[in-house]
Amino acid sequence: MKTFRRIGKLALLAVAAAAPIALALDGLVNIHDPSTVIQCDGKYYVYGTGGTALVSDDGWAWRAGTRAPRTGLAPDVIHIGDRYYMYVARNTGVTKGAINMIWSKSLDPASPNYKWEEGGVVASSDGVEESNAIDPGVFLDPTTGRLWLVYGSYFGFIRQVELDPKTGARLHAIDKPRDLAVNCEASDMMYHDGWYYLLATHGSCCRGADSGYNIRVGRSRKVTGPFVDDMGVDMIEGGGKLLLGSETRVIGPGHFGLLDLGDGVQKFSLHYEADLERGGASVLDIRPLLWKDGWPVAGSNMKEGTLEIESARAGTALEMAVEGMPVGGRITRQRPAGPPPGAAAPGTGAPAGPPPGGGPGTGGGMFAGVGHVIEPQQAAQVSSKWPSGNIDLRLSNFMSQAQQRWTISPAKGAGGYLGSPYFRITIAGTERALSATPGGELTVASSFTGAPEQLWRFDQLADGTWRIMPKAVPNATQPMALSAVGSGGVTLAKFDAASDRQHWQIQAQ
């Protein structure tokens, strides 16, 4: 694998300055072969090939970090006990290589605990054997506490050795590495619901938009494999189910690293060989990890747009509590005489609106439509009756009405969280902004001020629905998430991973 050649820093800054508000990560995100993104004392750190080190206060906006004393190819990092272990590889021949471990009690250079110690070689390749000892991926088995390292590249096999969780070093030097996969690199492992997963990147790297890099996965009931994909092909014969491939504006995803935030919220770090919005630069990203039928699937970070926000539990949609107007206007309809008891009858008794007509050739009648396209309802058409000031929020049957259509857009200068900027949520076509209140309830304020209770984070959950949380709730002692109560109520409450009350579908309009 070729060493990544970096563009001059000035050129990088020029590209970053020219980019619009990033819905991707912000700031300095250029990196190749990133380690798993790791948290230390409230900050996030990531390390890449060639000594690149990035740091972020919030997981969204990144800046240059501090180079570790040992650099090389595609490091990985893990936090066990009070130590941070870094594994980093160097080639001394075409396929002759070694993976070294270094450790520190902190990743923050400002901390008194910041001091890197050498931990020695944990795996190597002699230039002849069927493996190239680069691209380490370190995995702590949550069910047994055992520590494992996977490594390797396109020459020969992806291999696995066991490490000592107390020292981070090789557990038994004489133990033969286990062969797990071929025709891939950037391997890593994770555990979920009774299965072990081997992740690896297939395809070509390092060719900008010509990189075929894609992340694939196989699974096994045992930590030692064999790892088989969903079509029954063993990864040792090149199998692997696609987790993420290239997308419209980003080419060549690779180097998966799991971030488990607890409460069933998982994300993964990666790079794209070429971010087309950034001139084809190799950049970091952090994306939601979803689970479908026992297989991990890449989710997406929130994008801006005009959307319906619907409770996955209740099936009702977020609505500002004002009188709705049917799209196209109210239709006058006669209530039929003498309905049988118990039958619902149409008609609201409110006059005004066009009479029921018919399209050409329909002959008229109440089901024939009005004979022309009915345009989407705009807030300006119906908002003159809306009260000024704060308005309550409720859940209601979605009817494509203005008070139910929300514009989600990134908030300038508001910072972000892992993967995304904070967003504002406003009634489409207005400045009325969703806000958290001191009682842990909600209101729609008359304008957006950028206060923390008006900034929202969207985290995609394992089932593809979204958790929606304000940046802060005034006077609250714990984080709270948007939560459905019954069919028609909506509030803020502590996130409960076991319930779907806080699962939201976001439907583009």
């Binding site: 003498g338 309905p339 019954g486």
Partner: protein, 237 residues
Amino acid sequence: MKEFQWRSIAWVAIVTGIFLTTVAARSAAAQAPTEAPTGPIPAATLTTPTTPTAVPSAEGFIQRWLVLEPIPVMGVTQNAVQATVKKDALPDTQPAVPHTGDKTTVDGKDLTWHALDTKNYNLNLFHFSRSLARPTSDVLFWAVTVVNSPTEMKDVRLAIGSNAASVWWFNGEEVIGIYGDRQTVIDDGVSKRLTLKKGQNIIRAAVVNGGGATDFCARLLDADDKPIKGYTITLAK
């Protein structure tokens, strides 16, 4: 001969005519829509309370209410109903919790309060009104109940459903409004967090119907959104 023949023919004609008319009348009756009964029909789901207190159902629904005879109104949209509950508000002179049989005057009409127990999670206002031979369409029903709690409970919510629109007050504060031509859905309207006082708590509702069925249900939820059941319901002070 001729005379006899004509008389016979006449008789046959008359008898046939009577027969055909009867048949026609019967089949006409069978084809015509059944007219709505004009007299009161007893409400199968409602009874007059006989015990001094009640408790909520297994799912926490309040099944004992005082309901006022219906008031003619128009409109179930949010703005129409908000105007209605002000225009047809209960008079200030009325006690917060009336007794069964009490009379009150709303919009110039003398109306009587009825204490009711419902067998179901919901109280069927259609049955109630029909049992008094009153209208069921384009009407407003006022309803009141009293929740007696042994302790104060914070972060409680009132959760209701109604057909059609309704506005709800909890200890005098307006806490829920749901509108439009809707059917009763459990927990369809939910208040913000409230404090259930130790002792008496008064729940008042205004249910406005357009056409067709009309009913409502109500219960209290705790901080985990679970129904609360540890209280009694009374109607008389």
